[in-house]
């Protein structure tokens, strides 16, 4: 067996980790083993700093069919259908090459969902950039959007949602978090645990090239100032092959007795194979000479660790391999037998019959945990005095033109939102609605996080992200049944960032517990800092809301002039954390913590009233506050809204509450009755009008109005 020539600490392993590995193995490791270990023990693969913390998140729920640890979370949505969903980051690759970075991020998360046996049905993207208007930010934004469109449109999976925020802290560290949602029948659910001595591993998809070698380790080191130098490791996505891979995988899963399946992501073939074996408590023999290569001169470690895209690893009984290969060949895709299960738990790597390495799968799979040393908690900044009075109409126009509130329609327009026939409500307001198939159950889906809140309090900001995501699906009449998350933070080796990591986990746990929403999995992206500047803590929440009858979701039909406009829930009681406070130059302060009782009540009301057909449209009050939300309804529907508001204070008009909705109803009496029964505060504030304008009356103020065209001009800034 080849001996050790490399100093493993040059591969990014810490001396203590090397010692631990040697102790576990009972010997020195070879170069090949160190190379594999350095990738599998990277933060990106091993969650060294976060794994223990994540156990604080609630995971149990009656609808959870697969939770954390699986390729994606899977939830029961009734009638034998289930939904699979996961969100994952592709931040560093997108900072280096935005188009391919985003494209491969989309492809990667799609294969996670595919690995559960689900057909990928929709993408959502959570994007964060530095302030727009600088050449670099505009280049990154355009590249990332083009990458999402390039991969998603071609692979035939619609993009139905997302969020986009600008904040100076993302200038050097843009974030690209992608979420994929898939549908499956319960009996199609698959697992990645390998079993059965002699079963064969079938590598399906692209040839292996020198793509993204060390990509996982790359994502775990703080981005260098000269990131351009990291370029040769960038992977290239091929959505055309990705589409073939979906069809070939689903057909083989349907026709052959597949024992286990896993996508190839971080750590490539080694990552997938070792995870499958470690999960199943078995080992494997790998035949590297059988891996189809794009370049002949790949070294064994490169074959094992290459992050070439569009590949899946399937485990099948030997007798089923020929049929699976025939299916692949018919569909024009390569399928190679690259190894078999060993009962002894050892991973034996061979090339042309020569044994290159033999080491226990458990050693590779169990990286030593890294301790967190969080700084002690900071008191949230005091709530400053609030501005009074002012011109609400001008403030509204100014808010709508802010980069974080302006229209995203131009971006959505470059994504195919409809392919697959599952999109019942397209993106634009709160959450999109998907059906598993025409006539079948479905979901409302949203991703959310507001950097402004997290900047002042990581914990409250994380809780509020869960609340907002829950509100967004509830606005379509859905019941939130599970969430997935992606925690984007700075270096956990800094006490302040370690504190933020603890705080965002606690914040999510609190809100998830309060609202009874299980966490079905997630992803952690640390080390998002460069040049001494770390990002604002960014816990992105992907929410799944259940809709037994998505074709009757709130928002499928259109409001009609004459319908009444109601406020449901608790208006804002302060400006702290709001976009208005930033606009007004008020000293920033932590936002108010969530009002869980009020939110729970209204989350109960909307699905019931929606299912009864009492609500034509609902929209949650969030970024920018009440007037912005009313303006968004005018923009979205093309109709007008005329309201009389109870207060004229900035906090009422522009504060950002955690439990407030605007609802449009043709049957206010029925909604009022429900609200009384469920303890929801409700107030009728006006009506929908034919004339496309926002008309606002307030105590002691003259009536004012804005035409839809004026609102359109304010939000209509072209970001691309």
């Amino acid at each position: 067996m080849p001996l050790n020539t490399v100093d493993p600490t040059t591969l990014g392993l810490r001396p203590s980790e090397c010692e631990f590995a040697r102790r576990q193995a009972g010997r020195e490791l070879s170069d090949l083993e160190w190379a594999v270990l350095s990738v599998l023990w990277s933060e990106h693969c091993a969650y060294k700093h976060s794994r223990a913390l994540l156990s604080r998140l609630p995971r149990e729920g009656e609808r959870v069919l697969a939770g954390p640890g699986a390729g994606a979370g899977v939830l029961d949505i009734g009638e034998g259908w289930a939904v699979a969903a996961k969100v994952e980051s592709h931040n560093h690759p997108s900072a280096v090459e935005p188009l391919q970075g985003a494209a491969t991020g989309i492809g990667g998360i799609m294969r996670d969902v595919l690995s559960m046996g689900a057909r990928p049905a929709a993408f959502l993207d959570s994007l964060r950039f530095g302030m727009p208007g600088t050449g670099r930010t505009d280049y990154l934004l355009r590249g990332v959007v083009a990458g999402i469109a390039h991969y998603g449109n071609c692979v035939g999976v619609p993009t139905v949602g997302g969020d986009l925020y600008f904040h100076p802290s993302y200038e050097r560290n843009p974030l690209v978090n992608a979420m994929c949602v898939g549908f499956l029948r319960h009996e199609q659910l698959r697992d990645s645990a390998a079993s059965g001595e002699g079963n064969r591993f079938l590598l399906l998809g692209a040839r292996t090239g020198r793509d993204g070698i060390g990509g996982a380790a790359f994502a775990s080191v703080t981005l260098r100032e000269d990131a351009a130098e990291d370029r040769p490791r960038v992977q290239v996505g091929d959505p055309f092959l990705g589409k073939l891979l979906i069809e070939a995988t689903l057909e083989i899963l349907a026709c052959e007795p597949v024992v286990a399946i896993q996508d190839l992501g971080a750590g490539g073939l080694a990552g997938a194979l070792i995870e499958m074996c470690a999960k199943g408590g078995v080992g494997a023999e790998v035949w590297l000479e059988r891996v189809p290569l794009r370049a002949a001169d790949l070294a064994p470690a490169e074959i094992l660790l290459s992050e070439s895209q569009e590949r899946m690893l399937l485990l099948l009984p030997p007798a089923s391999i020929p049929a699976a290969q025939a299916t692949a060949q018919r569909l024009g895709i390569i399928a190679a037998e690259v190894g078999e299960v060993r009962a002894d738990g050892e991973i034996a790597v061979t090339m042309g019959g020569e044994l290159l390495s033999r080491l226990s799968a458990a050693i590779y799979a169990e990286a030593p945990m890294a301790p967190l040393a969080p700084a002690s908690g900071n008191a949230d900044a005091p709530v400053p005095a609030e501005p009074q009075g002012g011109d609400a109409r001008s403030a509204l126009l100014a808010l709508l033109a802010r980069p974080n509130l302006s229209s995203r329609a131009g971006i959505y327009g470059t994504y195919d939102q409809d392919v697959g026939l599952r999109t019942v409500v397209r993106p634009g307001l709160d959450a999109a609605v998907l059906r598993a198939a025409p006539g079948a159950p479905g979901v409302a889906v949203a991703v959310d996080q507001t950097p402004r809140y997290c900047e002042r309090s990581a914990r409250i900001g994380a809780s509020l992200a869960v609340c907002e995501a829950a509100r967004n699906v509830a606005a379509r009449g859905a019941v939130p049944i599970g969430l997935t998350n992606c925690l984007n933070l700075g270096s956990p080796e800094r006490p302040e960032a370690a504190r933020e990591l603890v705080d965002v986990v606690d914040g999510i746990a609190e809100a998830a517990n309060e609202l009874g929403i299980p966490v079905t999995g997630g992803n952690v992206s640390l080390y998002n800092e460069s040049g001494g500047l770390a990002i604002v803590p960014t816990p992105v929440i992907g929410m799944i809301g259940h809709l037994p009858d998505p074709e009757r979701a709130i928002g499928v039909g259109s409001p009609i002039p004459g319908m009444r406009v109601l406020l449901l829930g608790q208006p804002a009681d302060r400006l702290a954390g709001s976009e208005f406070a930033e606009l007004a130059g008020v000293q920033p302060a932590a936002p108010a913590p969530p009002d869980y009782p009020a939110l729970r009540a209204v989350l109960n009301l909307l699905p019931a009233a929606g299912a009864a057909g009492e609500i034509a449209l609902a929209h949650d009050v969030a970024d920018g506050g009440l007037l912005v939300a009313l303006a968004e309804i005018v923009l979205h529907t093309g109709l007008g809204v005329s309201v009389n508001l109870a207060e004229a204070t900035p906090r009422y008009l522009f504060g950002e509450p955690s439990a407030l909705f605007i609802a449009v109803t043709g049957d206010p009496g029925a909604v009022l009755l429900r609200a009384a029964a469920l303890g929801v505060r409700v107030k009728e504030i006006g009506e929908v009008t034919q004339s496309a304008q926002l008309v606002v009356g307030m105590p002691t103020e003259p009536l004012w109005s804005l035409e839809r065209a004026q609102l359109q001009r304010a939000v209509g800034r072209d970001l691309l």
Binding site: C154, Y412, T414, V419, S558
Partner: protein, 235 residues
Amino acid sequence: MIADVVVFPGSNCDFDTLEALRLALPGATLRRQWHGELDLSRSDLCVLPGGFAYGDYLRAGALAARSPALREVRRLIERGGLVLGICNGFQVLVEAGILPGAFQTNDVQHFLCRDVHVRVASSESPFLSGLREGAVLQLPIAHQEGNYRVTPREFEELSSEGRIALQYCGADGEIVPRENPNGSYHSIAGVLGAHGRVLGLMPHPERAAWPEIGRADGLEILRGALSVVAEGGRA
């Protein structure tokens, strides 16, 4: 009646089209056929669906148009069968020379997905026989290379032969540049082959075959094949 949907590697609206045809053509035998094994000898209708056949590498539709499957499509046309090319399928028919013209990238230079209005310019086709000339349909588009080009002379010919099928327009049916989403010559959204039995169109009728969610204007086009069968089948 037998209707076939051809699947090229990279087609991604094949399942959608089948699903919509199931609704539009009750009782028809529907088949999803892989391009490499295509047999249209018993077919009444063949649909080339939307997607990115062969990744749309080189030019949209160019590689698929060289597939042996196109020989089978031409034979069906010679027999008087119906052929419908939707979006990428339209691009394939144009690249194969079955329909005239060529496609360029949208004038906005990026992919576009949204609802548009199209005006029925000719009903001299089974696919449009259920619609009157001048009718306005709301249909979704989703494409990057939808900027349809023909020469002025070809346009005159197509017009005089009643082969301009659909044109982008406003909700009121007015054909004006601002309602043209992609820069297509004279706002052309769909054209007919000789005898009206081949229709290529950029909008996706299969995505608008769903009355329960308020998108149903594509149903009539998909149902058009029924008119031929009702007349006694193909020639």
